[in-house]
Amino acid sequence: MPMPIADLEAALREGFPDAEIQVEDLAGDNDHYRARIVSAAFAGVPRVKQHQLVYAALKGKMGGELHALALETSAPA
């Protein structure tokens, strides 16, 4: 069940309004993405929790509509 890249970006921007976000479609199939997200929301937050925040922003789409999303999360330097 693919998800258009624009929808993914929009969901991430809504969840992390301050963030620098880059999304790549790794396989060109709207189903395997990589997202780099740099947001102050991640400052001092353990990595598992950072990814959980991203999944929460995707409101259950991860693992359903969205099969693969490689995540790189960090706080601004």
């Binding site: 990595r47 598992v48 990814h51 991860m62 693992g63 359903g64 995540l71 790189e72």
Partner: protein
């Protein structure tokens, strides 16, 4: 979460698995034959580090496949547990491996290869 009392048999199975085995990988397929590239990557990392681990194939049971996602509050497979704690999925494990953090963590937990 993991320490809540429950009557959910899937939850109990997972809680028991991660408390009885120091390193557990919930994955698609079995360690000798992973059925997903992400599960395969984590198996390769653990093998390369020579870590003894138990693989649990979530494809054998739909309730387990859904149950582990709830148990960890994590929507994807694979999921690595060390000493009962959720360490992460494929990205986190790979990142920790690449920075050398994983080796240190496993040593600290007393589960690194001898």
């Amino acid at each position: 979460m993991s320490d809540a009392a429950t009557t959910d048999p899937v939850h109990d199975f997972i809680a028991k698995a991660v408390s009885e085995h120091p390193v557990v990988l919930f994955m698609k397929g079995v360690p000798d034959q992973p059925r997903c590239g992400f599960s395969s990557q984590v198996v390769q990392i653990l093998d390369q580090l020579g870590v003894d681990f138990v693989g649990v194939d979530v494809l054998q049971s739909e309730p387990l496949r859904e149950g582990i996602k709830r148990f960890s509050d994590w929507p994807t497979i694979p999921q690595l547990y060390v000493k009962g704690e959720f360490v992460g999925g494929c990205d986190i494990v790979r990142e920790m491996f690449q920075t050398g953090e994983l080796q240190g963590f496993l040593e600290q937990q007393g589960v690194a290869a001898q």
